[in-house]
Amino acid sequence: MHRFAARIGSAFAILVLLATTVVRAETVSYAFERSSITFTHIGRTPNGTAVGIDDPAFRSLLKSLGATLTWRTGERMVLITTSAPEVIGFGVGNPQYSVGAVTAQARFAAYMNGSEVYLPFDDVLHALGVSAQDGVLERLLTSLDVQGYGVQAVLVAHGGGILHPRVVTDAPDRVVYEFDGVGTTLAAQRTVNAGGIRSVEITSSGSARDPKTVVTIDLLPGTRHDAPQSGSGEFEVAFGANGSAPPLVEPLQQSVAAASQSAAATPSPPPSDMTNAAATPSSSPSPQATGNATVTAVSVQAGNDGSQTVAIAVTGDATYEWHRLRAPDNRFWIDIENAQLAGGPQDQAEVNPLIALRVRQIDPQTVRIALSLAGDNALDVSPAATGITVNVGTGMLADTAPRGGTGSIGAVVSASEPQTLVTPVPADEYGATGGDQTNWKFGPQSYVPTNPKLIVLDPGHGGSDRGSMHGDLQEAILNLDLAKRVQAILVARGWQVKMTRTIDHDVDPTPRSTQEAIGIGHDNADAYALQARDDIANEAGARLFVSIHCNAYLNSGPNGATVYYSKPMDEPLAQIMDRDIAMSDLGVKDDGTVKSHLYVTLHANMPAVLIETAFLSNPTDYAKLASSQWRQQMAQAIADGIDKYAQQNPVTSSAQ
């Protein structure tokens, strides 16, 4: 009997052990975008719900948000790249997680259950810009700010997934955007009075299964605005008051589909002056506060060294986040969660380095402290015994400075100081000719041309490879036109010229040389075609190899002419060529010489350069490339550079 009781007792104990240590499997269903989504890899912890990364519904959710998950068996870090793109990182056993450069505190640490990693569900959804409430998962419009630059302003919204609103109204006094399938907790009306924006109202509509967020922007008379820029996780519209032009904003990273459909706008640095610091926080009446912590006072004290300290007195336990608005608007805000503001809103004008300080209860749980700083002054936010201390003006803001951070007051111990694990690059490695100049990978150290009067010109791309295409211009055609012009000038000066192509066709590889050069088992037609161009010059024993191209980028910002090179023997040719182009009154910016790992210059036995004459993606450069007169001038500059190099570097029997 005793033995029987012992066995029963042991079995019971094991059951208790399993019940308390193994996370109970269950399912959770949500409505999501007009259908239902059921998570089957669900775990429960004392601090909240967890979701397994192998959960098919979780994977499906990530896919619908344009996010990708990176994890392999045995890895202790789960990384999710959002559509923005931004990298969210969860470490197994670590309650901190990262979203881009910002570190946040999760409700609990990610953990292993068998071979599967479980993530804190609410935190991962928050990082993805998705809310889970009342059985509904919805993509959220998570923030909306108006960044004012005097008569100009930019409305910036962030949210989960890809934000592509529908334009409902586009009138002189009002524009209305509707975000289908996107919910928000930001519903409110805000008076702005900046950049021609009178006010912004955010409203929620639709159903739980089909949410809509409507953003209504009331404009002052004479306000102009650009077309909205929609991208992954971000939405921007620029405004200009009194007929002034809206500020030019950096184009957003687009989704693949969106990028293929829309031409990029012209980027340019936004204005550097910051005359309006009143856009955030809201000037609407304070919501009724319900937080447990209390912000009892916010005061500013001047330091002896010109710095200032903002002391935020907080009683109780709370967490806070701080953020910096995008450059050049040097403004910060600190949101203290679970807090109420004692004493009402506060507006305070200050002298340098702090210009203005505003304190508001922005929702029932959140107190926001907004700070406007002069110039490039930086600030430092840290928890203190009495609340939060903000040191202002103790250093200058680097362009890579963090744009946000988190912390806590009271019970939770703040994180230890992180170490640097990656070796910084020495300052002298930055720049056009940076890098280890002694460690060249390819190319002979000397070269004697068997045909010293022969120049090989290589019009880049051609045939099935059109190169960059913008408007009516195609790089393959422009390159050929430029090369032919250079050829004509050189031939007239007594040079022999061989072209890698003379018509708009592919440069066919010669199998023998490509196999030798590239290696058996390597199948890449593009590299074969480039090798074929080098073969023409190498087999002919040419004096120089000059590849002619037109540059391009995803947006229209970059412009100018660049001379690329790869081998040590290329560099003198690149420098002379660049100098000649720069001095030829071509009206195109001199982007200098750039060492790079380019196939055609690496595999040419002789001195070789690749000249990117101008940017097809830049309107000013585009106009120049479209001009035959300009192309003739560019051809003249290239031919002059070749001549000058030949004069300064005569062929000897040993090497050049």
Partner: protein
């Protein structure tokens, strides 16, 4: 009072179960933040490098050096391909470019990218800038000094219509 042996065993088991349950379910609030990783990007002049820092998870008990190096390389590669925060102007990889896998063999990290990396018809400017940032980021990790690029698991000579040679590992000295 005399306690029978089976009853004592049962009480002991229950005690062990309770302690184990507490141990495994307790929230971990004391884990330190990890080291920072310096991520490089190429500025819009096409050549100059900038950096930003992201924090990497703290070391885990029992974690091998190889495992940590691998995870660090994955993390660094993902951050480099995602690019810096949106307010920093940088040369970006084409939209949709993702890191499929990263492996470290000796001093060479192999970064496998999705095919979207070849989708842009940008010129030398873009290729040069995007790969320079990626290579500098990974070679900033101690013990990694070269980066082999693959696309969808395949070694390629260049991107489609591309300019940079990618069939051999790239190093900082290539720039």
């Amino acid at each position: 009072m005399r306690v029978s042996r089976p009853l004592f065993g049962l009480v002991l088991l229950l005690a062990v179960a309770a302690v184990a349950g507490w141990y495994f379910s307790r929230p971990n609030v004391s884990a330190p933040s990890g080291p920072s990783v310096t991520v490089y990007y190429t500025k819009l002049d096409g050549t100059t490098l900038g950096t930003w820092d992201v924090s990497f998870r703290a070391a885990q008990p029992g974690e091998s050096d190889a495992q940590r190096l691998h995870d660090l390389a994955v993390y660094a590669a993902l951050q480099a391909v995602a690019g810096p925060p949106p307010d920093i102007s940088a040369v970006h990889f084409p939209a949709g470019t993702r890191v499929r896998d990263v492996s470290v063999n000796g001093s060479t990290a192999t970064v496998d990218l999705t095919r979207e990396v070849g989708s842009a018809s940008g010129g030398t400017f873009q290729e040069n800038g995007e790969f320079k940032g990626l290579v500098y980021t990974l070679t900033g990790i101690p013990s990694i000094n070269a980066v082999q690029i693959t696309i969808e698991g395949q070694t390629v000579g260049t991107l489609p219509g591309g300019h940079l040679e990618l069939d051999a590992p790239l190093r900082r000295s290539d720039w």
